[in-house]
């Protein structure tokens, strides 16, 4: 793994405004975020020779975004089918392509109109494809908050995880978002607000759920040595791992309280040459509150089953031993399908996170959807360059 560790870097990040109705196409969002990321890196679209995204049939493909920006002959591209479980794998694959010399400057983007055009929970449009849907949809069971609520309940029953734990996480992340000018939700909430929010799918309330968001976020990936000569301090990609998990098909694992992250984490840490104790800040995929709690366990920050009490102890808040989702996460910043978590980790490691900066942040973990629903996950460990 020495051949991969720290050989590539994130050289630029770019965002569009996050909103509930962008009023523009995903193509427009993608172009805006990509150009912003290139500007941040001090590069132009003429420097780009690789382009990558993940999507679920809801957004502009690299084959459209490239030509729209005058990038006509990329030497490498990736159009990854998938939701949040592949967000970090896209960056990992871009880094592999750069490390192998197949491309020099790759832009990874996710452009999404997840409120105004394509709502992940359905609510009106046709059901998602996939062999499992026929066994679930006739019972009114197909939307991600329902599925995650099902997994969360199993964890509650087995380990005594409580609604207060979910609520503390939501309150803590909102407090982070208050300090984030990009965030959609900047009004502080209390635990009472959490308990007063309406049911979506018990045990989940509204404040357990991510924000349906319109927006885009992009990253520029290049060689570490080249990144050092660019405009911004480089953030090195120390490790990138992705892999499979268990589906509901028989033959997989029977314990839904453990995610694919538990298998992936040792590989990821080994690749980076660090362990959980060396992680200074973690941007953890929070499609729902429970997603963070189970990943804190499966990435080794606390014992199995202790994710709820760990959050309630304040460990994941500002000044805690592991600040988590310093931007507010999907729960309070907005939902850009994983890429905004990587971008926040980059910001923390550059030291430009403003009021929400974690002092002395040198190593960051960022993770994808941990392998429920689509049985795969991915993650990155980034390091200050």
């Amino acid at each position: 793994m020495r051949g991969f560790r720290d050989r590539t870097a994130v050289a630029g990040v770019g965002y569009t405004r996050l909103s509930k109705n962008s009023g523009v196409s995903t193509l427009t969002l993608a172009c805006e975020a990509v150009l912003a990321a290139l500007e941040d890196a001090g590069l132009t679209a003429d420097d780009v020779d690789g382009i990558a995204t993940h999507r679920v049939g809801d957004s502009a493909a690299p084959s459209v975004v490239g030509p729209a920006l005058g990038i006509h002959r990329p030497s490498w591209y990736l159009d990854q089918f998938g939701g949040g479980s592949v967000s970090h794998a896209v960056v990992g694959q871009a880094a592999l392509a750069v490390a192998a010399g197949m491309a020099e400057t790759v832009v990874c983007y996710r452009a999404i109109n997840a409120r105004s055009e394509f709502r992940m929970g359905g609510t009106g449009r046709g059901l998602p494809p996939g062999p499992e849907v026929q066994y679930q949809a006739p019972y009114g069971y197909f939307a991600p908050p329902q599925q995650y609520a099902m997994f969360a309940r199993a964890h509650m029953a087995r380990y005594g995880t409580r609604p207060e734990h979910f609520g503390r996480l939501a309150v803590t992340q909102r407090a982070n978002a208050v300090k984030n000018p990009r965030a959609l939700m900047r009004v502080p909430i209390t635990l009472d607000d959490y308990f007063d929010s309406r049911w979506i799918a018990e045990p989940f309330r509204l404040l357990d759920c991510c924000l349906e968001t319109d927006g885009a976020c992009a990253l520029v990936i290049t060689r570490a040595d080249r990144a050092r000569d660019l405009r911004r301090p480089p953030v090195l990609i120390s490790a990138a791992a992705w892999g499979g998990g268990d589906s509901f098909m028989s033959g997989g694992g029977a314990d839904t309280t453990v995610t694919a992250a538990a298998e992936l984490a040792p590989r990821l840490y080994r690749q980076a040459g660090v362990g959980p104790a060396e992680i200074d800040v973690a941007e953890i995929y929070d499609c729902f509150t429970y997603s963070v709690i189970v990943q804190l366990e499966d990435y080794g920050f606390c014992a199995k089953g202790e994710g709820g009490p760990y959050v309630a102890s304040g460990a994941t808040g500002p000044g805690g031993e592991l600040p988590v989702n310093t931007h507010g996460g999907f729960l309070s910043e907005g939902y850009v399908h994983g890429v905004n978590h990587i971008a926040e980790a980059v910001s923390q490691l550059r030291g430009d996170a403003g009021d929400r900066q974690v002092d002395g942040a040198e190593v960051a973990l960022s993770t994808a959807q941990p392998g429920y629903i689509l049985p795969a996950t991915s993650a990155l460990i980034l390091r200050k360059g």
Binding site: L127, P131, Y135, G140, Q146, M150, W199, S250, A254, T256
Partner: protein, 130 residues
């Protein structure tokens, strides 16, 4: 509920059997492994000779939710969805709605009930095992 299952070439016969109120999964002819949902190959020995195996229509509630958000057009009342791990085929889970007013309990023993939608479609729902 208003959504009919979109069956495929692997699953169509299973749905036909459910419509006849048969409670079956696949059984591998080579190694005996029970599997669900339907597909051609055994995941354990990777052979593809199999038959439909009637099993006991019972299991345990692995987890459950009460869905409130109207994800489906026209469905406004809350409803319970259960995940059931089958007693005779512990590697297999099935889903269904809950057939009782009193909510389920995780770990509870349950029995399948066939709910007739029409001549061609029945659904498997669940109630406490008395």
């Amino acid at each position: 509920m208003s959504v009919r299952p979109v069956t495929d070439r692997d699953s169509a016969e299973w749905w036909e059997r459910v419509a006849r109120h048969e409670f079956v999964v696949q059984r591998c002819d080579s190694c005996g492994t029970l599997r669900f949902p339907a597909r051609a190959y055994c995941h354990r020995c990777r052979t593809r000779r199999w038959h439909w195996q009637p099993i006991g229509p019972t299991g345990r509630v692995e987890s459950w939710i009460v869905s409130h958000q109207p994800f489906l057009a026209g469905v406004t009342e809350p409803y319970v969805v259960v995940t059931v791990r089958l007693a005779d085929a512990p590697e297999c889970v099935m889903y269904g709605n809950w057939d009782r007013r009193e909510p389920p309990v995780t770990g509870q023993s349950v029995r399948a009930v066939f709910t007739v939608v029409d001549e061609e479609l029945s659904l498997i729902n669940w109630r406490p095992l008395e």
